[in-house]
């Protein structure tokens, strides 16, 4: 090999290394732009709202006076709606995912369902609001209540949960299923005792993505009749007399944090912008807590699963 040839090769390698470095730099730049913008916005919001983040802010109802206004009805509303959403969407979504992945025959019908579920995940949320208005509010007469809102958001995140459940189940190697069968497990035993526990972490990720999507929704809730001013709380679910548990809160009118924020932002008085920023910080904190909790549970569960 001549030295000229060798030099050419070296130059070539140099050039490739350069391209490699440039791409890495561009990659870092892109991710910095994305993260710093997000971080900047969040920090600015928290700083703007920090002076309003007092205990009173969490225990007061909305008011026309910015310094007296709080988010009590909004955060309680958001929590209750999310509770209903989680309690309906998670069992339904996971069960549907299990059926589609483990039980249903793989024919044209399954393909059709698969395509539809995936597409549903991308449908704009306002469409779900319209569907819910017709179905829950008018047909089923559930009223403009916490339960209607919870079920609406459950519909909205159902596709996300179904799709991630299926992905999670698909990621479990077939050899595990066969091993379970070989030891005489029935199909249900195989799923319940083996497949589900191993995929629980990934399913949980899907659930959290879904719930995080739901918690910020405004459009579908406005459509079904979420309120803006509400200065009382739903009935307590625990009663002092028999039967001790009450479901009246499901029927209660409600508001949620994003709606309260929007109302404050669009007010003429500028002091309300601070309130909106504070409410936004609370909403972000709630979402992050949910995520953190999920990550922690997932970590705990994965620790126990040893292949």
């Amino acid at each position: 090999m001549s030295s000229a040839n060798l030099q050419k090769i070296r130059a070539d390698i140099q050039r490739r290394k350069l391209i490699n470095t440039i791409f890495a730099l561009v990659g870092i730049l892109v991710i910095m732009v994305a993260i710093l913008t997000l971080l900047g916005l969040t920090i600015q919001m928290v700083i703007e709202g920090s002076s309003r983040l007092t205990p009173d802010f969490f225990t007061s109802f909305p008011s026309r006076r910015a310094e007296r206004a709080g988010i009590l009805s909004a955060w309680v509303g958001t929590s209750l709606v999310m509770l209903v959403t989680a309690l309906t969407a998670v069992p339904l979504g996971v069960a549907a995912g299990i059926y589609l992945e483990e039980y249903s025959r793989k024919d044209w019908l399954a393909d059709l369902i698969e395509i539809n579920v995936t597409n549903l995940a991308g449908v704009p949320s306002i469409i779900y609001g319209l569907l819910a208005l017709g179905l829950f509010v008018y047909k089923l007469q559930l009223g403009q209540s916490v339960i209607s809102a919870g079920l609406t958001l459950a519909l909205l995140i159902l596709p996300v949960i179904i799709v991630t459940t299926r992905e999670a189940l698909r990621a479990i190697p077939n050899s595990l299923r066969e091993a379970a069968y070989a030891l005489g497990a029935s199909k249900w035993q195989m799923i319940w005792d083996h497949i589900l526990p191993y995929s629980f972490g990934s399913i949980l990720t899907g659930v959290i993505i879904g719930l995080s999507r739901a918690i910020g929704q405004t459009a579908p809730l406005v459509t079904i009749g979420a309120l803006t001013f509400i200065a009382f709380l739903p009935d307590s679910p625990i009663k002092s007399e028999f039967p001790y548990i009450s479901f009246d809160w499901l029927q209660a009118p409600f508001t949620v944090l994003p709606i309260q924020m929007f109302n404050w932002v669009s007010r003429p008085e500028r002091e309300f912008e601070m309130n909106a920023a504070a409410a936004g910080s609370v909403l972000i904190a709630m979402t992050l807590t949910m995520n953190a909790l999920a990550i922690y549970i997932r970590y705990q569960l994965r620790k126990d699963v040893k292949w």
């Binding site: 509010v137 001013f229 009118p253 292949w307």
Partner: protein, 324 residues
């Protein structure tokens, strides 16, 4: 392989709770509560909200009031709904009820009492550095009519004594009641407006826009001007009489500020008006409006206006009084 059985117990628990919920809901449905449901215009909202807040303090939580914002039209849709469960007791309206809405109410068997509660004055604003102090309705029309699209772009084209500078326009979007009223009074046809302006449903965006551009002009509700006096300059409006009038509490109340001021209303379901809590609420509303309305930046009626409204309510005068 080790499993954490506990987590599965939890999951089973969650599933059974969900099942119980599903069963319990129909049982709960039949229960009632003293609740006053209000919905409608965002212009009337701050007033009704203030009244609702004070009323609930006054009643020590015995009566629950909810107020929503779904726009004047959206509010009437609920107010006159065929479905009794979504029907509201009171509807906020920044205009009088339309014929189509009257028919919907009739079809649903809803009769109503109409009460004026305040005035809204649409305010035309410019930047503080803008030398212009007053405009005639004609000049506003030249500026805003649909024919002005792309052709009228400079202040000097509207009035030769004004600066030779391009203007930027800000206004509410076409869904707004303010837009309907402004176009009706200025261009002569409801909904007819030039389209090359910056529209926003969020009035604070309009405030920012005009405040940051020395040759901008915009229009929106009086309360937004009231809260941003330090950043904006209101334009006096000359209704062809040669006498330009600034919007203020006095000029709106005595009718001098023409043609951009209008009364705003609440509509009460006549059947609901029989209920003691609704009756109390309306009486509380009219008794405290003159104090609460200015607090939220709107213009109150004079005292006799509220007395007339109260008489109207107590005598159960049905239907709309407007002959505007």
């Amino acid at each position: 392989m080790q499993l954490k059985q506990d987590s599965w117990k939890i999951l089973t628990g969650v599933a059974s709770v969900a099942a119980v919920l599903a069963l319990a809901v129909p049982v709960v449905k039949s229960q009632g509560r003293t609740l006053i449901k209000i919905d409608g215009s965002s212009t009337v909202y701050p007033i009704t909200e203030a009244v609702a807040e004070e009323f609930q303090i006054d009643k020590r939580g015995a009566v629950q009031v909810t107020v929503g914002i779904s726009g004047t039209g959206g509010g009437f849709k609920k107010f006159c709904s065929q479905d009794a469960s979504v029907r509201t007791d009171i509807s906020n309206a920044s205009r009088t009820i339309k014929d189509s809405e009257k028919e919907a109410c009739k079809a649903a068997g809803v009769e109503y009492i109409e009460l004026p509660v305040a005035y809204d004055a649409i305010t035309v604003v410019v930047n503080q550095d803008n030398p212009i102090d007053s405009m005639t309705v004609e000049e506003l029309k030249t500026m805003w009519q649909p024919e002005a699209d792309e052709t009228v772009t400079q202040w000097s084209q509207v009035n030769s004594s004004w600066p030779q500078e391009e203007f930027t326009l800000f206004g509410p979007g076409a869904d707004s009641g303010t837009f309907d009223y402004f176009t009706d009074k200025i261009t002569g046809e409801e909904g007819a407006s030039r389209t090359d302006y910056t529209p926003s449903e969020d009035d604070n965006v309009l405030v920012q826009g005009v405040a940051s551009d020395p040759f901008a002009l915009g229009y929106f509700g009086y309360s937004y001007y009231e809260s941003n006096r330090d950043k904006l300059k209101a334009v006096a409006i000359d209704d062809g009489t040669g006498n330009a009038v600034y919007p203020s509490l006095e000029t709106v109340r005595n009718g001098d500020y023409k043609p951009l001021s209008r009364p705003i209303f609440i509509y009460i379901n006549a059947e609901a008006a029989e209920k003691p809590e609704v009756k109390d609420f309306i009486e509380f509303y009219l008794a405290n409006a003159s104090e609460l309305v200015p607090e939220v930046g709107s213009v109150p009626l004079d005292d006799s206006g509220y007395e007339e409204a109260l008489a109207r309510f107590q005598n159960k005068v049905l239907g709309t009084a407007s002959a505007q």
